[in-house]
């Protein structure tokens, strides 16, 4: 591996090897009419230093894959990112990642390349996806100069669409896992949360198929019209 570092005026400093890998990353796939059963999804959860989408940093990434309608336990991603000068803060209590773990983490550019290679061209699923999408996009921009264009679907938005009969006010991941009686292991850990989100997604995708929403375009269309209805009714 070359130690030689390329400096470009605008972007971050990457090694030759990293640039190669960056170039080789796959474009997001077109969302086609294939059945949800055949669709590969990457279910993602991030732990961050806080909730400020402009200032806070991604500390760890957990992801699992839904492929052929099942969570494949052999495809999992779990990585803590190295962040210099990271201080323990209020959110340390929530994500439970000690500053020492952060110091021992993987260099961010490496970690993010690993992750994007894991994602490939698949669409992403997350709970409250907007947050994960923006945090991930910013991290990719800063560390790799990469523009994230992968589709993001929000499980928190799909859930009430598919289960309109569920009692209103179910907001958090905990609410929905409890609603479906899911037994969740240790939570507030990126990979455990990603798995819980993926289990929730499996139930929802199964129910979506029953409701004739059996492709990504169909599902996205239904989400859009629900958004419009809600905007109208407000």
């Amino acid at each position: 591996m070359s130690k030689f570092t390329w400096f470009s005026g605008r972007g971050p400093a990457l090694t030759h090897n990293q640039l190669e890998r960056l170039r080789a990353l796959r474009e997001p796939a077109e969302l086609d009419e294939r059945s949800l059963r055949q669709q590969r999804f990457v279910v993602l959860d991030l732990e961050t230093s806080g909730l400020n989408m402009r200032r806070d940093q991604v500390l760890s990434i957990g992801a699992v894959v839904i492929d052929n309608g099942a969570i494949d336990l052999s495809q999992q991603f779990e990585c803590t990112l190295q962040r210099d000068g990271h201080q323990a803060s209020a959110s340390t209590l929530i994500h439970g990642i000690a500053p020492s773990q952060i110091a021992n983490g993987v260099e961010p550019a490496e970690a993010l390349l690993d992750f994007m290679e894991f994602v490939g061209d698949s669409p992403l699923l997350a709970f409250h996806a907007e947050f994960d999408q923006r945090m991930l996009a910013r991290a990719l921009k800063q560390s790799l100069g990469y523009r994230l264009r992968h589709a993001f679907l929000d499980v928190a938005e799909i859930a009430p669409l598919i289960c309109p009969q569920a009692k209103p006010g179910l907001a958090g991941l905990d609410d929905w896992t409890a609603h479906f009686g899911l037994q969740v292991q240790e939570r507030h850990h990126a990979s455990a949360d990603a798995l819980a989100t993926a289990e929730l997604a499996l139930i929802l995708l199964s129910k979506a198929r029953q409701q004739q929403l059996d492709s990504l375009p169909a599902l996205l269309q239904a989400l859009n019209s629900r958004r419009r209805q809600r905007a109208y009714s407000m």
Binding site: A70, L73, Q76, L182, L195, L202, S206
Partner: protein, 643 residues
Amino acid sequence: MSSADAIAQAGKTAVLQNIHGTMAFLQKFPPFNQMDTAHLAYLVENCQLRFYGEGETIIQPSDGVVEHFYIVKQGRVHGERPHTAKRGTETTFEIATGECFPLAALIGERATRTAHLAAEDTFCLLLAKAAFVKLFALSNPLRDFALRGVSSLLDQVNQQVQMRAVETLGAQYSLDTRLGQLAMRQPIGCSPEMPLREAVRLMHEQQVGSIVVVDPANKPLGIFTLRDLRRVVADGVDLSQPINQLMTPQPFHLPPDASAFDAAMAMTERHIAHVCLVENDQLCGVISERDLFSLQRVDLVHLARTIRHAGRVETLAALRSEVRQLVDSMLAHGASSTQITQLITLLNDHTVCRVIELTLEDMGDPGIPFTWLVFGSEGRSEQTLHTDQDNGILFEAQDAAEAAAIRARLLPLAVEINQRLAQCGFTLCKGNIMAGNPELCLSRLEWAKRFNQFIHAATPENLLSSCIYFDLRAVWGDPQGCEQLRQALLSDVAGNILFQRMLAENALLQRPPLGLFRDFVVARKGAEKHTLDLKVQGLTPFVDGARLLALAHGVTACNTQERLHALSQLGVIEPLDGAAYEEAYHYIQQARLQQHQLQARDGLPYSNRVDPDHLNHLDQRILRESFRQAQRLQSSLAVRYQL
């Protein structure tokens, strides 16, 4: 990748949170709890997690050869096959969280014979066949489990029962007991010069089998035992000789810290019956063969003989605690509930006979031959330690007048027998189903008439009575009359479909406590909250079902398992079903027995109620499966009698 590499690789990824979490989950269930960590990690890492909505088919015969090993991570799976007698399907088994399927099909490399459906929203872990085969070769616990299936589960339960019983037997039963603790009494010693005659008198006065000859410092020089005395007397030796001429010198000895096992070994090896205990060169005790024998389990033959020859009712009453110890000990030695209930019945029969004989001696024999009948669980030879009296008397009489005269003579005797049985721990029957009741002290013709009424005038009360009286057996006296009565009964029932239907309705009254959505249905309130009744809800469906089918098909046996067995042989029920019913009945009975033993030990009243949450996972699982068999028996009755 070679399998060794694959396992090593699995070891590394086991640190991943989710793999770790899933492993921790599986480690709560057999066989995963016995598997090597690396093997388990390999299993989890190669799994996929799949969701099945309620009612969705997971795997079915038309899917062809099974390609995956399934573990229920959450939810419930039902096995369904076409109903044997009506349209639609019946649920044949249920698979709950932590359990796996379809082992037989997977190992047999064939399709399943049963459709597996999600009974509620269910998540399964699926392991591809290739990975399963690899693990099957590597992991002994998985292989054993897969090959032996449920029967290995039953073995585990039995082992568990044995272990628990051993725990409660206490230190006094252990061969690890210190000898110092066993040698309770002071050893009898004498000087070397003491004349033999005097030494023997001393042994006789102290009721011991041996005397140790010691020096003034209390150091053992020799031992003289009853066995030596026999030899001495046979040889015609002068009894005024000093004992040191006739003793066995340098007796074998052990320190008081040695174990009962050491002493037993020494006795067996050396053919001696006594071992001296010596500490600091001083005699501190003697252990005899008999001291060790009393440690061993209470001997059944001996106990039966003691009961049969007891001279007083008080002795019989005192022997009850030995029966309990015997049951404990038999559980510890791996006896089945069938063996144990038969044993209790046998000992109870001995007690009943002895009570009758003693009462006849005390009150005078009226000189009228009679037969002592028992009904209900006693009639079925299914007694546990918790025993009510259900009995009656049968005698021969020509007409009503003679019957009344005989009855008047037998009744005082019967009342006294009932009272004495109560003294021996047979609780008086609340419903007064006892021989001392004039309505139950009848001639054979009166009994036949009464049974006939039960069958033809089918009131709810008569129906209830038939469930008690039709399980009858003679315990004392000539059994001939009882058998004649039974033959008449069987031919009466066989020809009366209406009565059979009513018995069938009655057999469906007690539903096994299994819910649709929860594992067990338990009482919702009161002192019995969260509990279910093993006897009424678990055993009664089998007992009632077996009675109905036995009476309807001329089966003379009364015992539920014997009835089921006979019905299988007659082809009335499928042999496979019969075996499953017998096994399920046996398991529930075993659970009940264990419960009674624990209650007796804790001085609590006997109860048949258990809180399923207090059972361990294995017991819960088998209990649930047993109840399901009861449901199957009931639904087959419903079909048979078109209810």
